[in-house]
Symmetry: C2
Subunit: 339 residues, 2 copies
Amino acid sequence: VDRLTIKDVARAAGVHPATASRALNPRLPGRISAETTERVTRAAAALGYVVDPVGRSLRTQRSGTIGVLVPDLLNPFYPPVLRGVEGVLRENGFEALIASTDNDVRREAGLLDVFRGRRCEGYLVASASRRDETVRSLVRDGVPVVLVNRLTDVDAPSVTSDDAQGIGAAVAHLRGLGHTAIAHLTGPADISVTGRREKAFRAALAPGRPIVARAAQYTAAAGEAACLTLLRKRPEVTAILAGNDLIAVGCYAAFGRLGLSCPRDVSLIGINDMPLAEWLRPALTTVAIPQQLMGAQAARLIVATINNPQAAVRSIALDTALIVRGSTGPVRPATRSSA
Amino acid sequence: VDRLTIKDVARAAGVHPATASRALNPRLPGRISAETTERVTRAAAALGYVVDPVGRSLRTQRSGTIGVLVPDLLNPFYPPVLRGVEGVLRENGFEALIASTDNDVRREAGLLDVFRGRRCEGYLVASASRRDETVRSLVRDGVPVVLVNRLTDVDAPSVTSDDAQGIGAAVAHLRGLGHTAIAHLTGPADISVTGRREKAFRAALAPGRPIVARAAQYTAAAGEAACLTLLRKRPEVTAILAGNDLIAVGCYAAFGRLGLSCPRDVSLIGINDMPLAEWLRPALTTVAIPQQLMGAQAARLIVATINNPQAAVRSIALDTALIVRGSTGPVRPATRSSA
C-alpha cells in the first residue's frame, strides 16, 4: 500500500489539506475550531495516519528536538524533573535529547556542539554555573533557552524554586523544637542555588548567629566529610539544614560514625524531597521542591518561546514547602554538648 | 559568512570530499587510514567545521536516533543504565530518545508510534513484559532491537545479568552466618527477571526448603507491604533476599514497624546495588549488577546491528557479584522466634 498522506486525512475529514495539517500539528500557526480538530483527529485515527516528524522537519526546517543539559542523571533530583519535561514536550510534538555535563564546563561545551549540530530548537539548562559560557553563547546567538533550578550571570527565562519560603519554615520548625545552634551545611559556591539558600538561611535565622559550613559537592560523600568536620569543630550544633537531600544522606552516615542518634542527638533537614527521602531511616524532614512540576513548567516555557519568539516569557519561582518527617525532634542540648 | 561545507574541509586537508566525509563519519562505509583521518579532523577543527547530522540524515535517510524505553526513570536502576547508553551512542554518532512506559502496555505502544514516526534507527527496550506486543512488532518488522535486563517471549538480542551467580553467593553468605529460614521476597510474575531470580534462589537453596513471597511491584511501598505480611505469617524467617534494592528499602521500613533491628533480628540482601544502596542505614548488602556497563553494552549491540544488519549479534549476560555491607549478620534465632 502507498503511504498515507495528509491529503488522505483531509479528504476523509472533508477539509482542506492545510487545515488538516494544522489540526494535527499544534505548532503550526492558524487557529482551527475544536470541532474541526476533533473531526480531523478522528479521520486520522480511523485511517491509521501517523504524523511524520522527519518529513515535517524537512518542510519546516524544524528538528522537533530540545537539548536538555543536567549535571548528572544519577543525582535523584533530575529524574523527576526529566519526567516532567518529557511529558510536556511530547504533548507538544517535541522530544528531548538529554545529556549529563558532570558539572564540567568543557564537557558542557562539547555537548552543546553536538546538540547544535542536530539543530535543537531550544535548550533546557539545569547545569548552569554562575558564569556559564555555554548559556552565554546560546543567549548571544538568540537561541531559545530556559534555565532550570540554577541561574547564571546572563539574563534568561528560568524556572527555579522559592527556597526562602521553605527554608523559613524549616528554621521556624527547628526553633519551635527548641534548637538555637542551627548549622547550614551547604554546597559549592559556584552554583547559584548555594548562594540563594545560604541567604535565605541567614535571613531566617536573624538576629540569631548563623553557622554555615560548606560541602565540596552536592553529594552524599562530600556531605559526610563536611558534616564530620562541622560536628567536631562545633559540638554545640544540635540541628543541621543540609544544602540538599544528598548532603543530608551524608550527614546520616556522619552521625553514625560519631555515635550520634538522629533526631535524639541531632536534628536534620534536607532540601528537594528526592524520591527516596521518605524511605530513609529516620525518614527525612525536608524542604520539598516540586521537581516534576519544575520540569513541566520549564518545558512549557521553552515551547512557548519557540512557538512565539516575540512573546515575553516570564520566569517562574515555584513554591516550596516543609515536609516534617522523622529526622527532626526536640533539642536535648546536654546530650550533644557532652558528646 | 557562508556555511562551511565538507568541501572546504576537504580542500584544507588536501583530500577528496568523499574521503573527508568518511573520515568525519565513522558510520559511512569505506576504510580511511589513521593518518588521513587525523589530517581531516585537524582541518575540520581549524576551520570550526561541525558535522551536520540533519543534513547527513537527509542524504543518508538516517535519523541518528535510538528509541530507549524504560519502565520508569524514577527507579534508581535506570539512570546509571542510561548514562552507559548515552556515552556509547554519542561516541557513535547517535542520540537517545528516552521514554518511561510506567509498565503500561498501551503507553508503551503509543510511545513506540511516536518514536517510529521519528524514524528511530533502533530500539533499546528495558521495559519488556513476558509477552510484549511492542517488542513483537519491532522484531516482526525487522527493526533493530536489543532487550535490556528483561526478556520477552520473542527472540531478540539482549543484555541481561547472570543473577544465578550473585544469588548463589548471597545464599552461601547467609548460610555461612547460620541462617536456615531464608525467604525470597520477589516481584511481579509478568516480568522475566522475577522468574530468573526465583529459579536461581530455589536452585541455590536446594535441598533446603525455600520460602518465596511476592511484592506487587518492584517498589519500596510494595516491598514494605509484602514484607509485613511475610514476617507476620512466617515468624521463623531470619533472612530475606529481596527481589531488588527498592523492595529491600521497603523491608527496612517494615522491620521498623515490627520493632525488628537489622541485621540483629533479620538479615537483608538486595539486588542491583543502586546508587544509594551503600548510604542506607545499615548499608545494604546486595547482589551488584553493573548497571552502567549494561547500558553501554546494549548501546554497542544496537550500533553493531544497525551498522551491519547481516552480522550475528550475540546476547550478553553480565557477571553479578555479592557486595557485603551492614545489613547481614549472624543468625539469632531465639530473638526472631520470640518476636
